[in-house]
Symmetry: C2
Subunit: 143 residues, 2 copies
């Protein structure tokens, strides 16, 4: 299986917020148009990003803005904000290993730590990319 598209959508959203700042009011409808999905999907992700302290959302008048310097927001921050299965880990484990089998009874103890290390490596790489890197490329491509 794959990591849900909530992550890439959220990155897309934040890229829009940064790119269109001061040019457009970035509402859920506007974002839905750019991402190509439903406004409610966007609103739910806005909630997650807001709860993580990454953005601010105005009620009434509407519109979302980024709350922190772009170089202080990493892809991992966005990932952690929207991917709630973060706690479960990215690896799904089969649920009924046989406790009467010497392998089945120890497979978790044997693998859990190593799987966590793999996930750590992935997350470390995510931390090395900031939203500023992404925006810079976007601007570059639109000169």
């Amino acid at each position: 299986m794959q990591i849900s598209s909530k992550f890439t959508i959220a990155v897309h959203m934040m890229t829009c917020m940064a790119y269109f700042t001061e040019m457009e009011k970035v509402t859920s409808d506007f974002l839905a148009g750019s991402v190509g999905t439903n406004p409610v999907i966007i609103r739910n992700l806005m909630l997650s990003l807001k709860n993580a302290g990454l953005i601010e959302v105005k009620r009434g008048t509407g519109g979302a803005t980024i709350k922190k310097p772009l170089e202080e927001i990493t892809l991992f921050d966005i990932y952690a904000a929207v991917e709630n299965e973060k706690e479960k880990g990215i690896f799904r484990f089969h649920e009924n290993p046989n406790p009467a089998c010497p392998v089945g009874s120890t497979i978790h103890k044997t693998l859990d730590g190593r799987l966590a290390q793999i996930q750590d490596a992935m997350e470390a790489q995510m931390r090395s990319v900031t939203l500023w890197d992404v925006i810079r490329d976007t601007r570059e491509f639109n000169l």
Copy 2:
């Protein structure tokens, strides 16, 4: 979303093959009993592992054995063997970014390389763990 349990099941299977070598005939039924799943699931995974050159499966008489030295098989080899979405990448991308939007039209160019790097980091860590490491722990836990 998460990576399917095919991966951990396959690791479990190969651990059994190594652990029970010469003690038991390791058939799909035997493995299904240790893993706690259906024999057909096991057989399909055996196919994948066989096609990747990791194991040998006897027809007729039955039983699977590992074809390479344990220290030459890494978790990545097993992952690549059974996870066919390997080519698709672990990140799902939203499918309809708006081509008329400066962000929507460039988001793929901007992100694809970085997402690949993240996946590479994960795979590199997977390559650092061999089946021998896993078996050693299993034996350790069963002294």
